[in-house]
Symmetry: C2
DNA sequence: GGCTGCCATGCCGAACTCGCATCCGTCAGT
DNA sequence: ACTGACGGATGCGAGTTCGGCATGGCAGCC
């Protein structure tokens, strides 16, 4: 193209030498320069001397601009390459709170170690809000769960794990120290939950077990919930992802679930929207993190999660 | 070209609208973007949505670079246009000392008023040195004279004027107050000259008149010469261009020359080297200045100078 | 369900690009 | 002064690209 021809000729002071350097023929260079001069319409860019050529004033004026163009082009190439190799660009993701307990920190640590050039920004939120921000283009990726009744079908879902559930009971509880329990045995218990109604929360599983739990205290924050449980004010459900960060005076009992697991966790992207390589890499990091965290906490055998990516149709 | 297509699509968010804006067809835009994406090899630059398109991360990265390229291109166009219209660029010229007395200042004033955007640099020197610097590419234009025996043939010459000569005599000189004189009447006078030998100087004309002038004092600087003349130490030749700046106690007598004028003054450029429009404009300003200065000083009728440009072959 | 808006693509003619060979002007060495 | 070498310009021909036209496919909307 004319840009390389011009700059090379300006550097070399000769069409022939420039052609050799570029791996072209002399005639190609001659034509490129000639057509460039024609296109600019401002007279010749080089004076043709018996010994090679020499920049005219117009050519001298053009040089810095041509260099600027070449630099920008080269810079674009570099940055796009960095993007391909996940050494640049940005990654904006969101996750629900309990995923931030262990899953996301592990994945993030591994990702940042492997791809220090990527600018990562993180958000916390509930699944429906995260999906909205995904759709609006404010997020590239969202770690979401099936809890909350959000319409996941519209998104590209990368399955991360199926979470088992625990019941958190105070240290002195009658069931403490025992093994896995059926949820039905807690039908009469006081429950601590983030919402007065079980629908759309983890407590939904209770409905499937045939009872409607009595929500004695509405507490949203996880630490606060533990406090209420430890004080003997009630019991609560704990997803496996949060099992790691439980205080010692609260006992976790695995819930025996017949059939389907309590909830699935996905990395979601907008369907049909191409995702940057960093997104793929982060999904990979999330997958690895799944294997690393003890989501099979004390008392239960590890819960295997299929490594395959799945798109809900 | 791909640049305009990409930027316009990025701005408009639609191939079709961008095509309308550019005066192209939608298919042309589609192909341009498609081939650009292929060339960059880093995946699509736009996500194709049902409602137009949307930049991907790669596209978003590319935008500033593309804008940089477009800006540089546009800037180059602007500056080249300025160069064409003599509203930019630079002009480096040199002139011999007596041309700087009136001719060059007048021309320079007119030129700078008309073309304030041009950066002008000036040098002073003797004709041979100026021509060397012209050849070396340090000057774009040189105001030179035939005095000095320089090889003018190799240069592109724009004739400015043919200079008449004056003899400067002290106020009380016997010839003072008389009219034009023949040089032969001063064959026995003491001469003040810049060189002990008349060859290559204005005094060369004396040789053509059949006598070898006796150089009593070698004085180079014009003001100093006048001092020597005023003090009665001798007489000296004064070119018409310097006639304006003579002190009142020195009298100028027009020299009667039979045949050829004493010397010609040219604006010289390097032959075959394309000259910037500013050079042409400055030559024009010099021509106008020739008409404006009283190179026909007291005592002589104006000496017409042909306005045609001439190349010595 | 038909309609509309938007992008992709097969096809074709026009234009461009490049390499090859050759020509022209200048310079250097004999 | 003649000749060979060097450097750029140019006619020619083949391969490629480019742009327009028409069409197809897909999603959303009345």
């Amino acid at each position: 193209m004319w840009l390389r021809a011009f700059l090379e000729v300006a550097r070399q002071g000769s069409f022939t030498v420039a052609a050799r350097t570029l791996g072209w023929t002399q005639s190609a260079v001659s034509r490129q320069i000639s057509s460039l001069e024609g296109a600019l319409g401002g007279g010749p860019l080089f004076d043709r001397l018996p010994r090679g050529v020499r920049l005219t004033e117009a050519g001298r004026v053009l040089v810095p601009y041509a260099e600027g163009v070449a630099e920008a082009l080269q810079g674009a190439g570099r940055e796009l390459a960095a993007l391909r190799e996940v050494a640049g660009g940005r990654l904006r993701f969101g996750a629900f709170a309990t995923a931030d307990a262990a899953l996301v920190p592990h994945a993030l640590a591994a990702f940042r170690a492997r791809h220090p050039g990527v600018e990562v920004t993180r958000e916390e939120g509930f699944t429906p809000g995260l999906l909205d921000r995904l759709t609006a283009g404010h997020l590239d990726l969202a770690v979401v769960s099936t809890t909350g009744g959000a319409r996941l079908e519209a998104y590209e879902l990368h399955h991360l794990l199926d979470e088992s559930l625990y019941v958190a009971v105070p240290g002195g509880h009658v069931l403490a120290g025992g093994g896995p329990v059926r949820l039905g045995r807690l039908a009469d218990a006081d429950w601590i939950s983030g919402s007065p109604r079980p629908e759309g929360t983890l407590l939904e599983v209770a409905l499937r077990q045939g009872f409607r739990p009595r929500v004695a205290h509405v507490v949203g924050e996880w630490t606060a919930k533990q406090g209420y449980v430890a004080a003997g004010l009630g019991v609560t459900l704990v997803p496996a992802l949060a099992a790691e960060s439980v205080r010692p005076d609260v006992v976790l009992l695995p819930v025996l679930d017949e059939g389907a697991p309590a909830r699935a966790v996905y990395a979601a992207t907008v369907r049909g929207r191409s995702s940057a390589p960093a997104v793929e890499a982060f999904v990979g990091a999330l997958r690895e993190a799944v294997g690393r965290i003890p989501h099979a906490s004390p008392h239960t055998p590890p819960h295997p999660s299929p490594p395959t990516s799945r798109t809900m149709a």
